[in-house]
Symmetry: C2
Subunit: 593 residues, 2 copies
């Protein structure tokens, strides 16, 4: 179960594709430098490889719910969390004013990839805590911030998001949890929440729940949802922990994967009401949640890519070790390592190049986040925000959909051994399966992409990105004519699809929606191709330099070519489904299913 | 966890697409009639729905290995097996001379689909037993047949296949188990076998192991493998059970799915040698195994389709019940059943039409098997055998690869609930995952398809099938012009790929092999389209008849259209990968992975 953090690959994506040096020059990131980031990556790799990866398999045994409503973390997790806190990883992108290190999102993303590859279940504790920190940082009053943020920024306390209620799923209009004002300005919270990631555990001294609930006079629907802080233990004036609050974990879900991450059913107010504190203004909870959604969704996109990377590494290792069957066309009857069989090679390349493209796209999105947040020129910041908005559903949706396929290929490379749990690759397959569901299913992101992110802005960002893609394709023409042609053709198909969405979304939204997920996948493939093309161009240039890392750079070009031959041609089938297939999606009468 | 056997769909595939009446008129199948098969289907549906489906979830708890080397079947399984035996299902396609009912493979296939949908883990016990019966029937001497076949044909005793050894996988050249001749004409067998499905259990009085082993003077490689019968309990001259043989189950595998099916590590001869009996001639074991491979591989293709069907039914049920989010484009804020959301519709249709196509293709293959076995005209029998040989890797490979995708879509339709094991759909996703691995991975079938099944016969069967496909497309032109055009285009792409394989297979086998699995999938999609087109034509004709089942027949046409719009366009991407992408599969140096 070895994990080797792909530091060289990550560094290439950061420095070359996401242009880290330009991020380090943004106001607020003056302390960041390429050298510092290099050092961070080396340390993160050690932590991921040495601390998180070794307990991933034990984590699959799961956290344990106890009759006193406590939850015992999976073996090794508590100790790993303490090390995570002590090493200062928790505050990497938290503002320095709360004890964090204020690093760019791009840098944090690189470490998050490693945590997710090493131990997806574990990585969710930091992810949720960071989300809670972000929400409080942006929307809570100073008093709340002062009490909670410093301890959460260090990871001494963890955070959760309590959104979903039984039967309500992603539809937050249906939130029914109640918040009743108390005399002292606090609120009494009651209700039940489900699917609460790391909702209860024994790794940290306190757990700070962010909870969506309705005030007594709140309007119906999403405009009547407020956000509250509900700590597991109340905090005394001196910062010490006080009484246990009226909130408990009443059960844990039995899931397909990420067993090491306790998914809790949380009950608030069984004994009269959990004490909570209003974050920001009443009835604005939904907007506050949206603040952190881009980070959370990017984070889940990284999860998908990261578990794919881990599965890829395991498949490569097995394919090198496992000897079976003679080489095709060879007269020597001796078996060869299966990595020599063309179909195994095809599977490994299919995994590899998608991971490269996904990492690149996620890094480009994170860099745009940093520019949107810090760029001194308002127009540049706005342009980057549009880029973030457009890329997020693609990174979230495409990376995670492909994670199911990529981890499945990893199982397949293992043959019968892949189906045996001891082998370990089946865990990646199970763990990955949640990523295209939580933080919004792919269907939800598909709709977001065609509506708010494409139609609402007249396709501006989409078309600009496709124009960028065509430029890259043009530059590739002399050296990589086939890749260039495939990329140009794919961009053209994508443009036709954008035009279709612009035409149909308002008048016949059902037709646009019918192709929304195929469009999301198509854009993933095309924009992944944009990044693979850029990588090939950069690699070509660098190969001409003295002391070039020939192996690494040649591999980049080979990957791009495979991507062009095997991924980009899928675009035509997706485009046909979008452009010609909407009617048949809707045609079957409901009673005939 | 309701399962509704899709009797109407199955009947359509049998009667219309596989032309059951013509099978019933073959010599040897005189007792078979459409009416009798109707009655069989109704009874099988009752058994699958009422007996097998209800214990599927309990089966997921798994069989239990005990320290005395016994295995306790999952809850309810033993009783279900007894009912299966008593109801006479075990002998449905076993020759009447051994107490079976001698039904065509086509009819047996229809019942096997139901067993697999209802309870995949359970269905493996009959599948393996039938395989053993077939091997003995064709290759064992009369004495062995007389002792074993009658009890196996009824299911009183079950059968196993002991092929794989530790470290050897699908490469049977590496079999090392030994068989030493004893004075009485029997043999002493020793060695270890892994991945033995239903290798030990408590459902039947005896278990008859078919074991591949080497005689002391056997040549190396696959030409030195002999097949032996090794019963768990020796059989006395009067047919009663005698001493326990020297074979035991030393452990069960902990698997990703099909937990109800014990996968045993079997140890032969720990106490001096298990008594075994040679089947047929020495050193011909591999050929004997191949005899039953077509049935077994078709059976696994049916497994993939069948678990997909079960998952589809569950997804439809959930999509009808689950209310969430307003309808797109609607001003009514009230949530609607998610089956009304276009992307959910797209997922359900994607599942449905592939299942229809796969069932059709499997039935056509089974009918060809029956014709190959029983047709009085030798040329017709031979032609059908070629058809069987060509279709088997496609049905096995394509149905099972898509089962991973289809069951994944079923999870996706369930959103967060899909990831919770109690919901049940995750079990289908886990269970399905083995089907593209056992009985030969998709990679092995891809190679079989391009080599023995395409190149070796100059592409004759492939091109004949594509010509059939073009004829169907031509007939569709007036009524379904878009489907017709897509089918014609897909057949043309497929022909280009066949030509590529014929050109490259001998001179540059690596290039042909690089596209072997994409070619298998491409042929699955195209030949599935052939069947969907035939179904649409038949449905159109029948709709004009008095008393036509309008709903059912209209749905057939809608399914075919969706297939044309969404599945057939994928062919161009696959063809591009095969024709233009072989070099980049092979280009990456092994050390750079």
């Amino acid at each position: 179960m070895i994990y080797n953090a792909p530091v060289k690959e990550i560094r290439f994506a950061l420095n070359e594709l996401a242009e880290l040096p330009s991020i380090c020059s943004l106001p607020g990131y003056e302390d960041c430098s390429v050298d510092l980031v290099d050092a961070i990556l080396e340390e993160a790799a050690k932590f991921a490889e040495g601390v998180l990866a070794p307990i991933n398999k034990a984590g699959d045994q799961g956290a344990k719910w106890n009759a006193d409503y406590s939850v015992t973390s999976a073996p090794g997790f508590k100790d790993a969390w303490l090390q995570y806190v002590e090493s200062g990883w928790a505050g990497l992108r938290t503002p320095t004013e709360f004890g964090g290190q204020g690093m760019p999102a791009l840098v944090a993303l690189a470490t998050e990839e490693m945590w997710c590859s090493a131990n997806l279940a574990f990585s969710l504790a930091p992810l949720l805590t960071l989300g809670a920190v972000e929400a409080l940082h942006h929307h809570a009053g100073d008093e709340l911030k002062a009490v909670y943020l410093p301890k959460m920024a260090t990871g001494e306390w963890t955070g959760t998001m309590n959104l979903t209620e039984p039967g309500a799923g992603s539809d937050l209009a249906q939130v029914r949890s109640k918040a009743v004002p108390a005399a002292d300005g606090s609120y009494l919270i009651s209700g039940q929440k489900i699917f609460i990631t790391w909702g209860e555990h024994d790794m940290a001294d306190n757990i700070i729940h962010l909870v969506l609930a309705r005030l007594p006079d709140a309007p119906a629907g999403v405009k009547g949802i407020s956000l509250f802080v509900v700590p597991k233990y109340l905090v005394n004036a001196d910062g010490s922990l006080g009484a246990r609050n009226d909130v408990r974990c009443v059960s844990l879900e039995h899931k397909l994967g990420i067993h090491g991450s306790p998914t809790a059913v949380m009950s608030f107010g069984d004994e009269g009401g959990a004490i909570g504190y209003l974050v920001g203004e009443a009835n604005k909870g939904l907007g506050y949640m949206f603040t952190m959604m881009n980070h959370a969704r990017l984070g889940v996109g990284v999860e998908g890519m990261a578990v794919s990377e881990r599965a890829y590494q395991k498949a490569v290792e097995y394919a090198r070790d496992r000897v079976q069957s003679r080489a095709i066309g060879s007269s020597d009857p001796a078996g060869v390592a299966i990595i020599q069989h063309p179909d195994v090679r095809r599977m490994l390349m299919t995994m590899r190049v998608q991971i490269e493209a996904q990492r690149a796209l996620a890094c480009v999105a994170a860099a745009a986040m940093d520019r949107a947040a810090q760029h001194p020129v308002a127009a540049e910041a706005a342009k980057n925000q549009s880029l973030v908005n457009f890329l997020i559903p693609i990174v979230k949706g495409w990376n995670t959909e492909q994670a199911n396929e990529i981890t499945s290929l990893a199982v397949q490379v293992h043959g019968g051994m892949g189906f045996i749990e001891e082998t370990g690759v089946a865990q990646y397959y199970r763990d990955a399966r949640i990523t295209s569901i939580y933080e919004g299913t792919t269907g939800i992101h598909g709709l977001d992409l065609i509506g708010r992110k494409t139609f609402s802005e007249g396709g501006a960002t989409a078309l600009a990105l496709l124009e960028e893609t065509r430029l890259v394709a043009a530059k590739l023409a002399p050296s990589q004519p086939k890749l260039s042609a495939n990329l140009t053709a794919a961009a053209r198909e994508a443009e036709r699809c954008v035009a279709f969405i612009l035409e149909t979304f308002k008048a016949q939204p059902q037709l646009a929606a019918a192709g929304s997920v195929p469009f999301l996948k198509l854009m993933g493939i095309v924009l992944g191709g944009w990044q693979m093309g850029r990588a090939a161009l950069i690699a070509q240039d660098k190969l001409a330099e003295d002391g070039a890392d020939t192996d690494f750079l040649s591999a980049k070009i080979i990957s791009a070519r495979f991507y062009g031959d095997h991924l980009l041609p899928q675009v035509s089938g997706l485009a046909a489904a979008i452009l010609e297939g909407a009617d048949s999606v809707l045609e079957m009468p409901e009673n005939l299913f």
